[in-house]
Symmetry: C2
Subunit: 345 residues, 2 copies
Amino acid sequence: MTAPIKGKATSLDIAHLAGVSQPTVSRALRGSPMVNEETRKRIQAIAEQLNYKVDKNASNLRRQHSGTIALLFFEDPTPDDSQINPFFLSMLGSITRACALQSYDLLISFQQLSTNWQADYEDSNKADGLILLGYGDYLQAQSRLEQLVQQGTHFVRWGAVLPGQPGVSIGCDNYQGGRDITVHLLEQGRRQIAFLGDASNHYPEFFERYRGYEAALQGIGQAAQPSLQVDAITSEQSGYEAAMELLQRKVGFDAIFAASDLIAIGALKALHEQGLRVPADVAVVGFDDIPLASFVNPGLSTVQQDTKLAGTILVESLLKLINGEPVESRTIPVKLALRGSSRAA
Amino acid sequence: MTAPIKGKATSLDIAHLAGVSQPTVSRALRGSPMVNEETRKRIQAIAEQLNYKVDKNASNLRRQHSGTIALLFFEDPTPDDSQINPFFLSMLGSITRACALQSYDLLISFQQLSTNWQADYEDSNKADGLILLGYGDYLQAQSRLEQLVQQGTHFVRWGAVLPGQPGVSIGCDNYQGGRDITVHLLEQGRRQIAFLGDASNHYPEFFERYRGYEAALQGIGQAAQPSLQVDAITSEQSGYEAAMELLQRKVGFDAIFAASDLIAIGALKALHEQGLRVPADVAVVGFDDIPLASFVNPGLSTVQQDTKLAGTILVESLLKLINGEPVESRTIPVKLALRGSSRAA
DNA sequence: CTGAAAGCGCTTACAG
DNA sequence: CTGAAAGCGCTTACAG
């Protein structure tokens, strides 16, 4: 019997009890091959009994690494801050799981696009690297990204994959998705397809979707009509307003391609209110395939992003970066999820 | 001009550049009142220029505190692990914000109910305290909770608030919610109300909702019928199956009270498939008020939990606990969100 | 295979 | 108001 340890047990406590030196405890518990098997077992037993856990702060300080990844989630300032884009929540789930699989901890933080997020987490050694997630004005963020690169911060970003971007980006194939879903609408006989979403380099993901839309129209000799495009950001409210704006323009349209599912859902609401039938009068499609998409009535046709794969790739890419391995930006294939909103019953 | 710092700047680097000792740098940057204003400014300027950030590992190690809270999210093992209960995602958002407000970092981790989550995070000094979140078999978890209490781990748990529970629990008023929504159904003239959800002490939240349901029935002199209760856990799939089971029993019913919105949504699907009209043939209500609830058709009447308030209270309670202040378990009021699924059009 | 020593980068009594 | 010293609990060369 030894006197009980006051407070949390340290490796030194274990060492005393086991009759070895403190470094030996450290080695034994980390599974170093150069420690006697019997000694190790004794040490492990004592450690377990005392419910000893390595102090991460001490360990990290010494090893100069944290075993932690920070997920910076940045959003456009929204009036209702309680609502998070379900697509990102889905990403969050898959990133969390991917981290756990690699025995990394995940620190999460919501950032305003406007604040000075920079590399705080990595600079203060709280995290070995950063995952950047969020729709938002890309141009606003770009200089920050460049700064991160310059500082040598390890980060990967979810978003549009375009030439000349600072750092590593992972994103779905927005162009192809936009094109495929538009082709689908054309195949359904739609000929006046509106686009709801910002189509500028401020929102490169939307812009890529728009370019896909444009390309599909060109495929049948049509040009994209400015009168059929209305700006919107990712929210129901914004989608609702955009659809109302479109209706007020009094230009004919028989389909809406919304740049995201939330926008599409807002548009559906507006159409219903105006007594328009979906898909009979207007077909509607979205982008993301959030869980809601299959529950609205009619079910929303959309472009599915594989969030599970995306999370895995984001985490794996970041870990490679941390280990000094080269990583290329890359794109993840999408596929269509077709439901009632774009097809005759 | 001084030689550029290799690697990350430390407080010692700043000290050299400012011509002061390293402790003075530390004091200046932490805002200690006992440092000359002019000196402080000089130090701050240099720190900023070098993009210096206090090393959290060193700081935490020295201060024996981490400034971090761990959110342990545990789920029943589900076949489809990509789907997270939207209600918890909503909680996650509000917890994240509450942490940020208090300048705490948030570590998140998904746990299997079966694994040995214990107090790992606090024991390894990664976190000062734990928030436990998740539906799951309470009896399975109870001994772990007792262990946490015994170890002196700081934690708060989201869940049913019952006498004699280990540790601090925060939860919504499940009993009142169950009662109110059942009273609402009765007021709509429904008299054969089924309950979909596990009604045992394995799932105390559901059980409380069930007890509220029972109490409402007693209010009009009815007893709860075992033939009108079917077990279900929180998932669409489970709700779907429970509704099918109920239909097969061939007992008449004109309303369903589902113990959660996901269950309700699964039930709606089953009813639609069987050609039953909602609410004309069967009224359906749920619990949680997830975002989906307002989008299904007809809109789902449900009991709204205030996740924003819940997150704030969870975080504040935990911080009190960490500071050694006493905290009581408590309940948060609910309110009804009534929509088309329970009312004549 | 094991121990003595150094050091990660801070913070905080203790002197002055 | 500032500095010299100690120490948080580990990990890792360096000896033996």
